[in-house]
């Protein structure tokens, strides 16, 4: 790709980040939601530290999944409503590039804050100290896949009114492999077991989705714009 093309993609990324932090952009929403989910769990389960420590990996990953889902429907819907998606589709950057940049912007505003704040949430759930670093590694490797897979659901539902619920139903099954290996990685790390298989599977899923899903999402947008 030409240097101009890369500069254009960076301009799109900067615009999306800027929109996210301006009024109504929803930055921090996912993080606040994650905090609420994680603090509610001890109220529901009870204060036994050993039980909390055992379910912590699963709860933390479920929280991350739901927090990510919260802002997915905005990825393309807002651009569709104000007409900029039409204009971006006719602009000189490839639609696949638009999708990749929007997924990246979504990850920077939703996934990355979770990765950074996760150790604090781990403490709230009595996660053993040995597992804290695995929690961060697991979220760092896994959450990009959530954002990229989310663009596919968002692209499929882009023209629909109230597409948000349908989007959740479409996207959550795709999140299953990431959830399994992400939580497994933390669990194995906490117990001091071998982590390579879970680590490699998690990284492999993320690498594959990042490489392939933008093409599928772009194709879905093209169909929806007709």
């Amino acid at each position: 790709m030409s240097p101009e093309g890369i500069l254009s993609m960076i301009a799109l990324l900067i615009r999306d980040l800027r929109l996210a932090v301006r009024a109504g952009g929803g930055f921090g929403l996912g993080l606040a939601f994650f905090l609420i989910v994680v603090t509610l769990v001890p109220f529901g389960v009870g204060p036994q530290g050993d039980i909390l420590a055992r379910i912590a990996p699963g709860i933390l990953w479920l929280g991350a999944l739901l927090a990510c889902l919260l802002s997915l429907d905005r990825i393309f819907a807002l651009d569709f409503e104000d007409g900029s998606l039409d204009l971006l589709a006719t602009a000189p950057i490839p639609l696949e590039g638009v999708v990749a940049m929007k997924a990246f912007a979504h990850w920077l505003t939703t996934g990355l804050p979770l990765v950074i704040a996760a150790p604090i949430f781990g403490i709230l759930l009595h996660l053993p100290a040995a597992a804290q670093s695995w929690l961060v590694i697991s979220l760092l490797l896994g959450t990009p896949a959530l954002s990229v897979l989310g663009t596919f659901g968002a692209a499929l539902t882009v023209g629909l009114k109230r597409g948000g619920l349908l989007l959740s139903l479409l996207v959550l099954p795709f999140y299953v492999p990431t959830l399994i290996f992400g939580a497994e990685l933390i669990r194995r790390g906490a117990q001091g077991m071998a982590t390579d298989v879970a680590l490699l599977m998690l990284a492999g899923i993320t690498a594959a989705t990042v490489a392939l899903i933008p093409f599928a999402s772009a194709a879905a947008i093209r169909v929806n714009l007709r």
Binding site: S8, R22, G83, A89, T90, A91, P92, V223
Partner: protein
């Protein structure tokens, strides 16, 4: 030199053919105004030319990377300022400056206002200023003058004229008189697609279900 040439084009909306056997050419320095009643397929035609939907038949030839499309909606981000909106599109089209566009659409005084605080006409002017920053020679415009007052329409006509003078071309769908006397007018009514019962072509069958 022909900037945009259309041969025997047929376009469909929602799986039903709306226009057929349409042929025209737009040369450098020319403007073509599309006329026709509501629902004749002006927007559908322009979206097809912009590559947003496939043609039913015929072909469109246009040099690659030469078209700038402006739809009904301006694609503005309400929380960004006027100049941030324009700078974004300038970066997307890899052009350097937004000053001439601000100047010619009389937006200089509004440059630091958020787009949400603009009036409908001011938003439209910003949408048209976006065309100027694309630096593309072929403008394809859908109802460019909606919500503009007479002074702004004159401003717009002047911008189109300046664009044509620089060797550009423009294809406009509009109902009102722009004061562009030199523009050719193409009435789309004779190209209305016949119904299949009358021997017209069938639309793409599966498209009606998408």
């Amino acid at each position: 030199m022909s900037m945009l040439s259309v041969r025997n084009l047929a376009v469909s909306r929602g799986g039903l053919p709306v226009l057929e056997n349409l042929s025209f050419e737009v040369e450098a320095g020319q403007a073509l105004v599309l006329r026709g009643p509501n629902g004749i397929g002006k927007t559908t035609l322009l979206r097809t030319l912009a590559g947003l939907q496939p043609a039913l038949a015929g072909n469109v030839s246009i040099p690659s990377e030469s078209m700038a499309y402006a739809a009904h909606s301006d694609g503005l981000k309400s929380t960004l300022t006027v100049s941030e909106n324009l700078k974004f599109w300038a970066a997307i089209y890899a052009t350097d400056t937004i000053d001439p566009a601000l100047e010619s659409m009389n937006l200089r005084g509004l440059a630091n206002r958020a787009a949400m605080s603009l009036s409908a006409g001011q938003k439209r002017r910003l949408g048209l200023a976006r065309l100027l920053v694309t630096g593309r020679p072929v403008w394809v415009l859908d109802e460019p003058t909606v919500s503009l007052d007479t002074a702004s329409v004159a401003l717009f006509a002047q911008a189109v004229r300046g664009h044509l003078a620089q060797g550009g071309a423009a294809l406009l769908a509009t109902h009102i008189d722009l004061g562009l006397e030199e523009a050719r007018v193409l009435d789309l009514a004779p190209f209305k697609a016949r119904l299949p019962e009358e021997g017209g072509m069938l639309g793409a069958f599966d498209e009606a279900f998408l």
